[in-house]
Subunit: 172 residues, 3 copies
């Protein structure tokens, strides 16, 4: 259980985060929310505040906009369960920071496969099921996100695809 990796993927407003939070809450372990999002505008700011209020005071919240691997290595302590929300925002941040996404994805997959001291649930947004985006940046983002999702799904012990709040188990 300690090194269990669960990957929850779904669309926007699919209920994927609520489903992931329920997995963590039901564990009885001390819940830690690892937020990758950074507020760039009022819309995002309000969303972050609303989610934090929804989780309630039992959750500890950490921010990891870029150093997700370091954060997991430091914070995955016995007795805890971590929820990373979400990988697509992490990819966005890495791209904005000019990082090499495939190398970062390798490092994250290696970290998750290394036997962390606490179970981790990672949430991400599937973005590849619409029309090909017009602009090259959006296409690059979609490609990076899709490749990362394949890697994380490959190292995860359990994978869920969430639609309308309902999980389909793809693995595990």
């Amino acid at each position: 259980m300690a090194d269990t990796i669960t990957f929850v993927i779904g669309g926007a407003r699919s209920g994927k985060t609520a489903f992931a939070e329920a997995l963590v809450s039901r564990s009885g372990l001390s819940p830690v929310y690892v937020a990758t999002g950074r507020a760039f505008d009022a819309e995002m700011d309000a969303r972050i505040a609303r989610h934090r209020a929804d989780r309630g005071p039992t959750w500890q919240t950490l921010e990891a906009p870029l150093d997700l691997v370091g954060t997991l290595e430091r914070e995955a302590k016995p007795g805890r369960m971590l929820l990373v929300d979400c990988l697509t925002l992490w990819v966005t941040n890495l791209m904005m920071d000019g990082r090499e996404i495939d190398a970062e994805a390798d490092a994250l997959a290696a970290c998750l496969g290394s036997g962390l001291a606490a179970p981790v649930v990672l949430v991400s947004n599937e973005v590849g099921l619409g029309i090909v985006p017009d602009n090259a940046m959006a296409r690059a983002f979609r490609d990076h996100a899709g490749r990362l999702h394949q890697r994380i799904a490959a190292v995860a012990s359990t994978v869920y695809f969430v639609v309308a709040g309902l999980p389909m188990k793809l693995k595990g």
Copy 2:
């Protein structure tokens, strides 16, 4: 059976409506098509006419662009089975009319959970699995649709996700 609620969600041209129509036709009950769509242009007009012709004369067709709850309460009579097509067009109409979407979604969920006198199949378009849209209105629509889908899936007895004409049962 009388108060059975079935939710069919899928992509554009996924065959979700044809699948839902087959559920209703197989029931042996008197089929009622509750259309939420309004023709704003020739493209939409042609689509509506084609669908009506495809269903054939055994189907009664009602229009409920805004008052879906009232229509269900009035028309869900014993011996009938209703097909609502589709919830995303209803959300579009509500937004254009300046309604409070969450309140409308609450009212619809309450109506569906209240024990209607006829079974209802609701069809909707999953729109949250592509790239984040550029404009704020499209993002708001996507959020409203996604939250509504979660609520309807929660009160439905059976939920299907349709891809390429093939249903995956998510619930029931």
Copy 3:
């Protein structure tokens, strides 16, 4: 087995092609890659070259940007297994060439249902699960692709929906 038709549908960077290639490789039959893509720019060019290198020298590669039916009829020989990648690019090419897409889709479905001398795996991109596209051409493309997917799924013996590299079996 000779006339087995497998349809693999998934999002961009979902791992659908790698999954389809593995199906072909595991068959022990002589693998033939039927590419529908045409390089219009450097981005596409690089992608095609990378995929060809990834498959390795055991694969024979054919190009069928438009005449997919003729290619399948000629090349589906005993001892071979064919992989068509992908149907959405074929639809794009047909639209650019001014073809009647529904007639082409009928012809492809009839060809696949006619008992070819080799099994065929067809890969395609689900594009209907995002927001309705702004421009009419993209909407038409989405409609054509979705209707084609329904037809191919109907004649296929096995259908998979791939998310994050993981297949869900929809049929077969």
